[in-house]
């Protein structure tokens, strides 16, 4: 084990395409980065933005959303709905200071085991570059008045952005 940062990533896969692509990657013994833990949904259209927010707030460094290629959705067109949600979600996350690259949308058909593997490895490297997210864990918020110490130093010592 090296000392490099190992991100934890939650991956959402669609039952029909991308989860089968990950099956295929397995059957073909393709090797890829072990940092992604998969959740199988019936469709990328099932992806509620809440899931992404929950994963990020509970310790994930990145979220990978995968689905069928546009026009190949098992449910005809639901991956387009996933795409629209993803694009708006990314804007909202940007407003919260989260790099847009932490949430990635990947289309992979059931036949694209190799693509699934390489996209996963690529994404892990991208997140590794971005560093840990550690959402809200930098420390536990404000000190209480009870212990008489202040967690935020005002006045001269405070660093003020120019």
């Amino acid at each position: 084990m090296t000392d490099q940062f190992e991100p934890t990533i939650i991956g959402f896969t669609c039952n029909w395409c991308s989860y089968r692509a990950s099956d295929l990657a397995g059957t073909a013994r393709m090797k890829y980065a072990p940092n992604v833990r998969l959740i199988r949904l019936m469709c990328s259209g099932r992806l509620d933005p809440t899931f992404v927010l929950r994963a990020l707030s509970e310790g994930a460094d990145g979220v990978m959303i995968t689905g069928c290629h546009p026009g190949e959705c098992h449910y005809i067109e639901q991956n387009y709905k996933a795409l629209r949600r993803f694009l708006l979600l990314r804007r909202v996350l940007t407003g919260l200071g989260i790099e847009p690259g932490r949430v990635k949308l990947v289309w992979a058909s059931a036949a694209e085991g190799a693509r699934f593997a390489s996209e996963t490895t690529t994404f892990v490297e991208e997140i590794r570059k971005l560093g840990p997210l550690n959402w809200g864990k930098d420390d536990d918020g404000p000190q209480t008045a009870d212990d008489g110490k202040s967690s935020i130093v005002h006045g001269q010592e405070m660093e003020v952005p120019a």
């Binding site: 084990m1 934890t8 939650i10 029909w16 395409c17 989860y19 089968r20 990950s22 099956d23 990657a25 397995g26 059957t27 013994r29 393709m30 090797k31 890829y32 072990p34 833990r37 998969l38 959740i39 199988r40 949904l41 019936m42 469709c43 259209g45 099932r46 992806l47 509620d48 933005p49 809440t50 899931f51 929950r54 994963a55 509970e58 310790g59 994930a60 069928c68 026009g71 190949e72 098992h74 449910y75 005809i76 067109e77 639901q78 709905k81 949600r85 058909s109 059931a110 036949a111 694209e112 593997a117």
Partner: protein, 665 residues
């Protein structure tokens, strides 16, 4: 904690145990997830074996387990196995969760420590999730006993006949005017050299006259709705401008029609047909079709020769396209292949050099019913070639075109060599990369062709040219190739070149796939459910693929697949009902505010708005369980079984190890 959860970690021989410390995973689950309700965690060599299943069943009965997590292979492989095992022990099958630590862990990672850690996370996610699982009951829906077969080539005909002979009704839809497919164009079939028409036409006639088969030729499927057992299909029956009730198929209209047209389809552009025509003599059905594009009446408003001479007044210039709506329980797609367009390999000169022929052109040339009544001649229509070169793998096994092997081209090339040799006595050269003659009696045929004196050159042909360098090349086509066995370059002058073109998916295969809700592989062939164990089923229940629609293959394999799919269909029909996954969305009407945001999201039209109550409602029969509306409802009023918010949130927390025994500070 009210749940009692059993965790079962599979070794899968060494498939998992070779990379994951399975004992450690089981021990860890018992220790760290005990507070979540894990009361037993075991590892076993083969969980899916009967002994492994018995182990789980015994624990359910003796320990009173209320939930089961099996950490093994992908749920797509054995989810059903373990669900049935749980059911046998009296536990609702949907209270079993599969955690994949093989396809998603041991097969794709190498570091044991890392793979073991990931397995723990995957198990932790499954344990958290299974607590939120609800017992579900399968939904049974009746199966409509009618079947739709799309495509009337040999695979589709075979499939339709099997089902019809079993006593059930089949709609056989064919885009062309006649059934028969590519096989109807062939002259002889390898390796036995029996005449293609002789073996095919009886089948065509049988299909055309079968009381249980409704033949819809010159027709295309335009819409498919519904689901397994209950598809509703709309078929466009294109106007033939012939009243089928009155037409006797006597052929007088074709005889009298003054307009000759080059037949690009059936005769591969080598012969002519009329503007009103049956594609070939044995066509089924035997009604002609009016080719609107080329008919003088449709062009200029005069002529009507066919109408004048028709003895039964069957010509109807006012006929319109007709939409037919049918209900079927199963659909077999036998939509076939397109021949690789040899023009794309521009260095072989097809389309530029007149005496370069495609395999389909040669089939028509050598066919006794073809434009030359079976005489193998050059493009001028009279010269018999003295030397012929046959090039294999045109468009196949070639990174510039298709990587795959088209299966039939080697044998096709050998067949051509034999026919040329037999009928013209010409010298024949075959240019091949590798000779692929695997199947019954195929290699013997190769030996026979070798003995007949056909010359074989192993190497990829660089080009076919008419630019002569030497006197013996004048007026010839020169095949420039590497001879890898002799280790040198060769220039071989011949009179005629035949390109053994490969097979390609139908140009519209992706659109057709979308229409029926199935996907295509990277190459464009329809994707089967399992490449070995389920080659004729698809991911969409009730939709089957046979013949070359699934991938390149020869006639025997196409016939076998056609029959295999029918066995699948009959199995469904005879069960009378089908169990659907109870994964459905439902609206909580108390919470629904009638904002109607979900209304536009369902491609299956399962969501209806009840204006009187100002709420939306989901029809469970139409809901396919994708969950898009569940994720979309801004009020959180729609919930989905099997993939509820609670289940997924729990799984996220579990995967992130947020569910471990709280450490006392």
């Amino acid at each position: 904690m009210t749940e009692k959860i059993g965790v079962y970690v599979c070794h899968c021989g060494s498939n998992i145990a070779g990379v994951v410390d399975v004992e450690d995973v089981a021990k860890w689950a018992a220790e760290k997830l005990g507070h979540q309700g894990v009361v037993v965690a075991r590892d076993y060599k083969f969980m899916c074996s009967s002994l492994g299943q018995e182990l789980i069943e015994k624990d359910i009965k003796e320990l009173g387990l209320t939930r089961v997590v099996v950490a093994a292979c992908s749920p797509h492989l054995h989810e059903k196995t373990f669900r049935i095992a749980a059911q046998n022990a009296g536990l609702n099958p949907y209270l079993v969760e599969l955690a994949s630590i093989r396809e998603q862990v041991s097969w794709v990672h190498t570091d044991k420590a890392v793979a073991t850690a990931k397995s723990k996370a995957v198990v932790s996610g499954a344990v958290s999730r299974v607590i939120e699982n609800a017992p579900l009951d399968e939904i049974k829906v009746p199966i409509n006993p009618n079947t739709l077969v799309v495509g009337g080539g040999i695979a589709g005909i075979q499939s339709a006949l099997e089902i019809a002979n079993a006593g059930f009704h089949v709609y056989l839809v064919e885009r062309e005017p006649s059934i028969g497919g590519h096989m109807a164009q062939f002259d002889k079939t390898f390796p036995t050299l029996d005449c293609s028409a002789c073996i095919l036409t009886p089948r065509m006639v049988e299909a055309g006259t079968h009381p249980n088969i409704t033949l819809l030729t010159w027709s295309e499927v335009v819409n498919v709705a519904g689901y397994v057992g209950n598809f509703n299909v709309t078929i466009k029956k294109k106007a033939r401008f012939i009243n089928e009730e009155l037409c006797t198929g006597c052929g007088i209209c074709q005889e009298k029609c003054p307009k000759k047209v080059i037949d690009d389809v059936y005769e591969a552009g080598l012969g002519y047909r009329k503007a009103v025509y049956t594609p070939f003599a044995q066509a089924v059905p035997n009604f002609p079709v009016m080719d609107k594009e080329n008919c003088i009446y449709f062009e200029k408003g005069t002529c009507k020769a066919c109408e004048k001479f028709c003895p039964t007044n069957a010509i109807d210039f006012n006929q319109q396209d007709e939409l037919i709506n049918i209900d079927v329980g199963n659909i077999v797609l036998a939509t076939g292949y397109d021949l690789f367009d040899a023009r794309r390999v521009s260095n072989y000169g097809y389309g530029r050099l007149p005496n370069v022929f495609t395999s389909l052109e040669f089939e028509r040339l050598s066919n006794a019913a073809g434009p030359t009544t079976g005489n193998i001649v050059l493009r001028d229509g009279k010269t018999v070639p003295k030397s012929v070169g046959i090039i294999h793998c045109v468009g196949s096994r070639d990174r510039n075109f298709n990587n795959y092997c088209s299966v039939i081209c080697c044998m096709q090339g050998l067949k051509f060599a034999h026919l040329v040799h037999e009928r013209t006595g010409a010298t024949v050269y075959n240019f091949y990369i590798d000779m692929r003659t695997a199947y019954k009696a195929y290699d013997e045929f190769y030996q026979r062709v070798l003995e007949e004196g056909t010359l074989f050159v192993r190497g990829k042909v660089a080009e076919v040219t008419d630019a002569a360098r030497y006197s013996n090349e004048r007026g010839k086509l020169i095949i420039q190739t590497e001879d890898t066995l002799a280790g040198k370059q060769r220039r071989i002058p011949v009179d005629m070149v035949i390109l053994s073109s490969g097979l390609e998916p139908r140009h519209d295969a992706r659109e057709v796939g979308k229409l029926f809700g199935i996907s295509c592989s990277m190459d464009g062939w329809f994707t089967e459910k399992h490449p070995k164990l389920d080659p004729v089923s698809t991911m969409t229940e009730g939709i089957y693929i046979v013949g070359c629609a699934q991938g390149p293959k020869d006639i025997p394999s196409s016939v076998a697949q056609g029959a295999a799919a029918s066995a699948r269909v009959l199995d469904k029909i005879l069960q009378k009902e089908v169990a659907l996954e109870p994964i459905k969305a439902t609206v909580n009407k108390e919470m629904c505010s009638g904002c109607r945001i979900c209304n536009g999201l369902c491609p299956f039209n399962a969501i209806a708005f009840l204006a009187d109550d100002n709420v939306s409602e989901i029809n469970p029969a139409l809901c396919q369980g994708c969950g898009t509306c569940v994720a979309a409802c801004p009020a959180g009023a729609i919930s989905g079984t099997g993939f509820s918010n609670e289940q997924i949130i729990a799984q996220i927390d579990g995967l992130l190890m947020r569910n471990l025994e709280p450490v006392e500070a």
